[in-house]
């Protein structure tokens, strides 16, 4: 018997509203339909109304976890249009915060993976240690989540010798604990049984569906913007692109754990080799006319910002392509022929950030043409819709 179960928009497995409409036969998933659009925030339109500096703070609020990713991506595009040369020390600090953010995001993800598979102890432990990296970020920037360290032309805060010592001290604890979690995550039998062979995505599928980030790398494609198209100071850093060949959720865990360990190495290198000098250059209020695309390897994958300037103090157009959006098509393929029990972990394995990825889609009636709808009309429409719906008839309440 095939039944449809609604996973979302409100569901304990999902931290943000998205709707997975899953057709199941017993415990087997037959078909999946992803519906978006529950969390549109109008960010791109908002960005057109703020000036260049204000927009840094708007970009920061696209996502809580990768707040530094979005600002860096935006700032890089603006610097490219203006032709600003950012001082080396500024770039080093920018990269340092970026790598710390990756550590914080991946530790968070490990905890979420534990929670989705019912391994709450793992969740509690990784989130406890995430506090260490958040404290480090607080030492550097003064904030735990929205670091506000970027400015156009550099960074806003310098880093002192005492801070370096503190960070290196906490880093040792983090490395030790991460190695322990890497061990648990890949050896604990019940945990591995839940991850091994779940959500398969072959190399060909991953590339043809344009997956990004750890999902792509877990399928054996060594694709990383930091290596392929280095920005900031990644061309000077010694690091390897973490990959796995299995193409399942276990592979995605391994890729993230490897990336954590690589990030620690990078952070140590950055702290030990940071050059002296200024941390930023002064940027003008108005940016030259022009356009630029900036790429950035966020913890979740490749982040893209397109910025267009018409010479004013506000951007003419700003387009954000968050990494989660690129991973949705692959998710549908991964979910097919799996079990209901695997839905949360497969969906969580792309590290979804729904509200970052939501953009509006306007459907225009071709006969009537474009029409602006007032809020009162919208409200009336929804009331009519529910009045028309006959709840006494079977199947109307859960109509899919």
């Amino acid at each position: 018997m095939e039944i449809k179960i609604p996973i979302g928009p409100q569901h304990p497995a999902l931290k943000e509203p998205i709707s997975l409409r899953v057709t199941v036969d017993g415990e087997h998933i037959k078909d999946v339909d992803i519906r978006l659009g529950y969390n549109h925030r109008g960010l791109e339109k908002l960005a057109e109304q703020k000036n260049w500096v204000q927009n840094i703070y708007v970009m920061e609020r696209i996502c809580g976890i990768c707040s530094h990713s979005h600002t860096t991506c935006y700032v890089q595009a603006v610097e490219q249009i203006q032709g600003l040369e950012v001082p080396k020390r500024g770039l080093y600090i920018r990269t340092l915060v970026a790598e710390l953010e990756r550590v914080h995001s991946h530790l968070l993800w490990l905890g979420v993976a534990g929670h989705e598979t019912g391994f709450d102890t793992f969740f509690m432990y990784t989130w406890r240690d995430r506090e260490i990296v958040m404290d480090i970020l607080e030492i550097i920037s003064g904030n735990r989540v929205h670091y506000a360290i970027n400015s156009i032309g550099g960074v806003r805060r310098d880093i002192s010798e005492e801070q370096k010592k503190l960070i290196l001290g906490s880093l040792d604890t983090l490395i030790k604990r991460t190695e322990y979690y890497a061990n648990i995550g890949t050896i604990e039998p019940t945990f591995v049984a839940r991850l091994d062979g779940v959500g398969p995505l072959s190399k060909e599928q991953a590339t043809s569906l344009c997956a990004v980030g750890p999902v792509l790398r877990a399928s054996g494609v060594a694709n990383d913007v930091r290596k392929d198209d280095p920005y900031a100071v990644y061309d000077e850093l010694p690091f390897e692109v973490a990959t796995a060949t299995s193409g399942d959720v276990l592979g995605r865990v391994i890729v993230r754990v490897k990336e954590l360990l690589e990030s620690y190495k990078m952070i140590e290198y950055l702290l030990k080799n940071i050059p002296e000098g200024p941390i930023s250059v002064r940027a003008p209020r108005k940016i030259k006319p022009g356009e630029a695309i900036s790429r950035y390897e966020a913890p979740r994958g490749e982040d893209l910002h397109y910025v267009k300037s018409n010479g004013g103090d506000k951007p003419e157009r700003l387009k954000v392509r968050a990494p989660t959006l690129a991973n949705y098509p692959a998710t549908v393929v991964m979910l097919k022929n799996m079990f209901i029990a695997d839905i949360p972990i497969i969906f969580a394995a792309i590290d979804p950030c729904v509200c970052c990825a939501e953009r509006t889609v306007q459907l225009i009636d071709t006969k009537r043409g474009d029409k602006v709808m007032r809020f009162s009309e919208l409200r009336k429409m929804s009331i009519d819709f529910y009045k028309k719906m006959d709840l006494s008839k079977k199947g109307n309440l859960w109509k899919l």
């Binding site: 497995a13 079990f339 079977k394």
Partner: protein, 322 residues
Amino acid sequence: METLKDIIFILIYPGLFFLLSYSLFVEWVDRKVYARLQNRYGPLHTGFAGMLQPTADFIKLMFKEDIVPEKADKFMFSALPIFGLAIVATSSLFLPVWHYTAQTSFVSFSGDLIVAVYLLSLATLVLFLAGWHSTSPFATIGGVRVITMLFGYEIPFLLALLGPAILADSWRMMNIAAFYQQTPVLLLVNIIGFFVALISLQAKLERCPFDIPHAETEIVGGTFTEYSGRKLAFFKLMTSIEMVVGSGLIAVVFMGGFPGGFWIGMAHFVVKTTFIVILLAFIRALCSRIRVEQVVTFSWRYLTPIAILQILIVILVKAYIN
């Protein structure tokens, strides 16, 4: 005098009063141990070290709004929580605590071990029916998962309890306990069976790694999705009591029961069942939830053969003793 004893037995110890308060205590132990293993504090503020927290939760849930879904089978939906609570409370009467004599009575007779196990299985069936009669997709899937899991753990559980019974040459819990009280060395023979029974009990209680029927991140509340208020409180209480009875059963069969009179027997009961509950909390903290088909595979590939191995060992030991 005998009548008074019966009334105390049914109402106070180990009857309703003791069962209710002790199951809430056991829930506190479980929560506290689980929390400490996870680097948390657990209940802290209500009563001494949060001891009254489960009671407070229960009372609060009793006052919450009680919703019956429009499409649910109203009679079954409302009757099942009470029925389930009654079943597990009844099964507790068969534990040989203090009120038994050499003659058979209504709570102690040859085969009472099987009756207690049977009543506990019936409680599982109640959970399935509760899910099924809720008619929501999540509850239905949860109900089906309950039954699927039952096929996995029920056989090893019974087989594990069978070993000590064969050695003691009795199906009456009182006799089994008395046998091991005389020769406690023989308890060591059953050590493998003890762990099989412990894991099966964990599955019976639907706790991690077997909390599949109400896996929060997969199917919301599972069997309990549609339940709220008083009915949910009854189900929660039922699970706690089931934990007490299940661990009591294991304590009788594998740990020599509860010798002594009223007070010493009660001390034995509390110490032994709490020990088992702590072990169950350890299992709960150290595993991740497995899939429903993995439960069945696991129990038929590992648990059942191990339980049979245990029985073989018991038979050999018995031949050696005789």
